[in-house]
């Protein structure tokens, strides 16, 4: 597997990278961890004239809490996210999701920005990020903008990114209080992309009623989706396991998941329900511990 020839550009700063993108945007691809781009290039399915290697931009690798927002730099690796004490404390859903991506080697190289930019319809992060109502920050020489992840991913491998832009940051609103969360991922073989992945988040009020329920799913549609029927069913209730059993059945409402050689659309719908139930039960039990 030999890619066609390309020019490798190695910017030393974000500004330099943005200038390169301004010049070559349409013909360039950004290289971070390389797990998506390099296989595509080797199969000659991606044929960029320029590859802009972002590895020197240490300024885009960070995890910090500022005010009511957690900011994760685009070049932060999955293993950094998985092992971040800040995230484990303040946003465990993202850390757990990162820990279930691929295998150790993939997590050591792959970055959150790269994963979001590639927008694989079965990627893990998007399920958690839509449940967390996170935003993607995009920058170009013309300025900066923030887009909700749910708007940013428009379809399989399709995003709302301009050829001149790069992702600099993921912003996650801090959720305080009695919060519980879980990411459930079904694979037939370890380290694969999800057959179905479900991220659940429950926030309990002082009296134990669910103030907020969020369910994000991956692998069941062209991009990440929220199970709004499930969320509505449970919000405002003092949730029991029976409630979750009942609500989970709504997880597949309106879905038309893909069929492929691994599994049928119908199986994925059944699994969306099963994993929603599992994720919610874990999230509820976590939230109750903190209530």
């Amino acid at each position: 597997m030999y890619p066609p020839s390309f020019k490798l550009l190695v910017p030393q700063s974000l500004d330099e990278a943005l200038k390169m993108l301004a010049e070559h945007g349409g013909e360039a691809k950004l290289l971070a961890g390389g797990h998506s781009l390099i296989p595509l290039m080797k199969l000659r399915l991606a044929r960029p004239a320029y590859v802009i290697y972002l590895g020197k931009l240490k300024e885009l690798s960070y995890i910090r809490e500022e005010g009511d927002t957690i900011r994760v730099g685009a070049l932060t690796t999955h293993s950094e996210i998985e092992s971040s004490e800040l995230l484990r404390e303040r946003c465990p859903l993202l850390a757990e999701t990162a820990s279930k991506i691929g295998d150790r080697q993939v997590r050591n190289m792959g970055t959150i920005g790269g994963s979001i930019a590639h927008a694989d319809p079965a990627a893990d992060y998007p399920a958690a990020l839509v449940a967390l109502e996170a935003e993607v920050v995009l920058k170009s020489v013309n300025g900066e903008r923030a887009v909700k992840v749910s708007d940013f991913i428009k379809g399989p491998y399709i995003t709302d990114i301009d050829p001149q832009e790069l992702i600099t940051e993921i912003r996650i609103p801090v959720v305080n209080g009695a919060v519980g969360s879980s990411y459930e991922k079904l694979v037939f073989r370890a380290s694969d992309f999800a057959i179905v992945g479900v991220a659940a988040l429950i926030v309990l009020g002082k009296d134990g009623t669910a103030e907020r329920v969020r369910v994000g799913m991956t692998g069941v549609a062209e991009g990440p989706v929220r199970a709004q029927g499930v969320e509505e069913e449970l919000e405002g209730k003092k949730i029991t396991e029976e409630d979750i059993d009942k609500a989970s059945k709504k997880a597949s409402e309106g879905l038309n998941p893909p069929s492929d050689i691994r599994a049928s659309s119908e199986y994925r719908k059944a699994m969306a329900e099963a994993l929603t139930r599992r994720a919610l039960i874990k999230a509820l039990s976590e939230a109750k511990k903190k209530a």
């Binding site: 030999y2 020839s5 050689i261």
Partner: protein, 784 residues
């Protein structure tokens, strides 16, 4: 018997230091000055006539040396034909042109070859070759392929049947069926697998026009066989062709055959006057290197109300793909049909196999080769019979197991040695079979899905002897060669015709020689893989390397030792009969102070001034060893699984293997072979499957789609050995390379189906992925 110093010891693999530290030397590590690179354009269609090929644009790319089509090779390289001509089966003379010129018959067929200064440019050139195809109707399904009116792939086989092979043994099936209490019919699919060795295939060819010598480094399990076939196809005399298989990164059978690639680069090296190298990409490996298994079988089994299996009538279609690969015809016939009595006292076997041609990648030997398919069938039979009769599957096997060896199976094989029933009971005991049955019954009440699967197998391996190989139409004998050479300093070099490529025989062979000669193991080096160094030999496959190759080595070592004894007697001025040998020293019986070391004898054999009358100088022996019969390892594996009730994902809770592989040379390595084999077999049960679409495109052409289980997916495999020496070779060994793969597929499938048996599920075809299990239950209308 003196205490063994090396044989039977857990000695670490000496090859691992180089292999694990990246110091192995594989074909792709080699490059000669001036090497150019070949890339192959594979067909865009699984079946198409080639109308025209325009190479002009590709040839103009800077760095491209040339582009060559089928027309170029047509008269220069003879097409490949199978080496296993299968006696009495009306085998059709199917030819495989190295580069196709008239039509392509599967998506791996090579349509053109680009040669460039570097591989990147060669692949650029492939994109610039313009081929005009006339697509033809495609058939990938073998049941469709044998129907009247199906697309014809080769004119030589108008109904796409390459051969029809029949074996009947024992009583007539119909008469035994008439006497039986029950006859059951079932259809079984043993689906297609892709061998997926860690190293893909490739070759580097160098031609010396001054001497007319061609040297080819190639990924091969059998370099001498490669040389013989390549010599015939290329028209280069055998003595001018040197084939070297350096370190080889696994094969599982896929590096036995000769393929177009090595012939193409060889011919181009001669024509271009520069070394030519080609290494498969992973995608090419999936598409172009042969696949394994792929049977559809309908069987009838006649049995009594006590569970005695009296007879089997088996009708199998074996998908052979678009061409007949080197050993392909023998795999679903000789290595399958003759094994259909298994370790059981079956009185009648009537098997017919049709080898079917389809527009798919050719199918040939894959770890176990025919024997896993036979074992799978028999072990499903045992479980199905148990189920029909309401018996415990263990009891059905107890009724049927062969009592003692030697045993004459109705298929004509003579099992060598074994304690089949003891091993069976030991496996059940070690796996705590009865306890698991209790757990299962409790778990079912809680709605949990736990299943227990048993698989008892016997396999013929140590592939030899020649008289049987030849009687089946195999193109060569099946023996093995060895040279044991003691140098003047007493150090030992061993040359073997086998070619281990991951199995660890550089270590186990050294153990054998060090034990036989009483020298330190560090003093023994094993050389293999180079036709210029080793005598003609048959290579490594069919679990034959230690029984046959090791047997040859042991005999050569013994012969050397006898010569050394004669020389020692002369040095000690004693009678040969009075000279004894122990731990590297010869001494006169009753006078242990009168002794010489084997090193001193070695030196004396080369100084040659004190040799006995008529003794030749030097200290070495060459042995060509043709065993009297196959060896027959056997064993019982037990698997316990639990299926998740929501995702339907099966998890293996326990896996126990008890195998009798005869004398165990190195338990550490043997256990490793069992572990790897079991995982490769359970992969078929639960994970791996090759899928072609209707147009003949391979949908599983990479590791992302073709599901090889990872280390994380695999269970702990508990491996135990029982040793009953085989009388068929000097070491008493039986072979271990394939036991795990042969046994485990059935053990795991039986366990999964056992977990579902109370839900009305009798049989389902592999692979039993979570989706498949969900689907089976849904079809049955079962809510688990």
């Amino acid at each position: 018997m003196p205490e063994r110093r090396y044989l039977g010891k857990r000695i670490k693999r000496r090859e691992d230091l180089r292999l694990l530290t990246g110091r192995g030397l594989f074909v792709d590590d080699l490059s000669l000055p001036g090497t150019v690179y070949a890339a192959f354009l594979r067909s865009s269609y699984a079946h198409a006539r080639i109308k025209s090929i325009d190479t002009t644009r590709a040839e103009k790319i800077s760095g491209v040396i040339g582009v060559f089509t089928g027309e170029y090779f047509k008269d220069k390289v003879q097409p490949l034909m199978t080496a296993w001509a299968l006696t009495g089966a009306d085998l059709k003379p199917i030819k495989w042109p190295v580069v196709v010129h008239d039509k392509a018959r599967f998506i791996g067929d090579i349509v053109a070859v680009a040669v460039a200064e570097d591989p990147y440019t060669a692949y650029d050139a492939l994109e610039a070759i313009e081929v005009e195809y006339e697509p033809l109707p495609v058939v990938t399904d073998m049941e469709e392929a044998v129907k009247p009116g199906a697309p014809v792939i080769h004119d030589e086989a108008p109904n796409n049947v390459a051969f029809t092979w029949r074996l009947t043994g024992g009583e007539d099936f119909d008469s035994i069926a008439a006497k039986a209490d029950h006859v059951m019919r079932q259809r079984l699919v043993n689906h297609r697998l892709i061998p997926s060795a860690m190293e893909t295939r490739g070759a580097l060819a160098h031609y010396n026009a001054s001497t007319g010598e061609l040297t080819v480094w190639v990924t091969s399990q059998n370099p001498h066989v490669h040389r013989l076939i390549m010599s015939a196809s290329l028209g280069i005399p055998e003595h001018k062709l040197r084939v070297i298989a350096p370190d080889v990164g696994g094969g599982f059978g896929s590096k036995i055959p000769v393929y177009p690639g090595e012939l193409i680069v060889s011919r181009l090296a001669m024509d271009l006057g520069r070394p030519v190298k080609w290494m498969e990409t992973r995608k090419e490996n999936f598409m172009g290197t042969h696949h394994g298994r792929d049977h559809i079988t309908d069987f009838e089994v006649a049995y009594t109300r006590k569970g005695e299996v009296l007879g089997l009538r088996v009708r199998t279609l074996a998908n052979l793909g678009a061409y007949l690969s080197t050993a392909a015809p023998g795999v679903p016939t000789i290595l399958y049909g003759t094994m259909l009595s298994g370790p059981y006292k079956i009185k009648s076997v009537d098997v017919e196999v049709k080898g079917v041609l389809t527009n798919t990648t050719p199918v040939d030997a894959y770890r176990g080769a025919g024997r896993p398919e036979a074992t799978y069938l028999l072990e499903r039979v045992m479980d199905l019979v148990a189920r029909e009769l309401g018996m415990d599957p263990a009891d059905v096997r107890r009724v049927n197991l062969v009592e003692k060896a030697p045993y004459n199976a109705v298929t004509g094989l003579i099992y060598d040695s074994g304690r089949y029933r003891e091993v069976f009971e030991e496996a059940l005991k070690r796996a705590e079979y009865s306890k698991w049955r209790e757990i299962q019954s409790k778990a079912r009440k809680e709605g949990r899905l736990i299943g227990i699967g048993i698989s008892s197998y016997i396999e013929m391996c140590g592939l030899a002897p020649s008289r049987i190989a030849r009687a089946t139409g195999f193109g060569l004998g099946l023996w093995e060669s060895a040279v044991v050479r003691i140098h003047p300093s007493g150090k030992v070099t061993v040359y073997t015709g086998s070619h281990p490529h991951g199995q660890g025989e550089e270590t186990t062979f050294a153990q054998i020689v060090a034990e036989e000669l009483g020298v330190p193991i560090e003093d023994v080096e094993i050389v293999h893989g180079d036709t210029a160094q080793t005598p003609f030999g048959m290579g490594t496959y069919g679990s034959r390397t230690t029984p046959v190759g090791g047997g040859a080595i042991a005999l050569a070592a013994r012969r050397v030792k006898e010569k050394a004894r004669r020389i020692a007697a002369s040095l000690l001025e004693a009678r040969v009969d009075d000279v004894e040998y122990s731990e590297g020293k010869f001494y006169v019986r009753g006078h242990p102070e009168k002794q010489v070391t084997i090193q001193e004898v070695a030196l004396a054999s080369y100084t040659a001034d004190k040799l006995p009358e008529g003794e030749e100088p030097g200290l070495e022996a060459t042995v060509f060893y043709d065993p009297e019969n196959f060896t027959f390892p056997y064993g019982t594996h037990v698997c316990v699984v639990e299926i998740d009730k929501e995702t339907f994902k099966p998890k293996i809770l326990r896996y126990v293997a008890v195998d009798d592989i005869g004398v165990v040379v190195n338990p550490l390595i043997a256990e490793g072979q069992v572990h790897g084999g079991v995982i490769q077999g359970l992969a078929q049960a639960l994970y791996e499957y090759a899928v072609f679409d209707e147009a003949g495109n391979l949908l599983t052409a990479g590791f992302n789609d073709y599901m090889i289980p990872t280390a994380i997916d695999t269970p702990n495999v508990e491996s135990y050995f029982v040793e009953t020496p085989s009388p068929h070779n000097p070491l008493g060994v039986k072979g271990v390379g394939e036991t795990g793969t042969i046994a485990s597929t059935a053990a795991v499938v039986n366990a999964v189906l056992d977990a579902l048996s109370h839900l009305g599920i009798k049989h389902a075809d592999m692979p039993l992925t979570p989706y498949k299990i969900w689907e089976i239950l849904k079809e049955k209308g079962v809510k688990a």
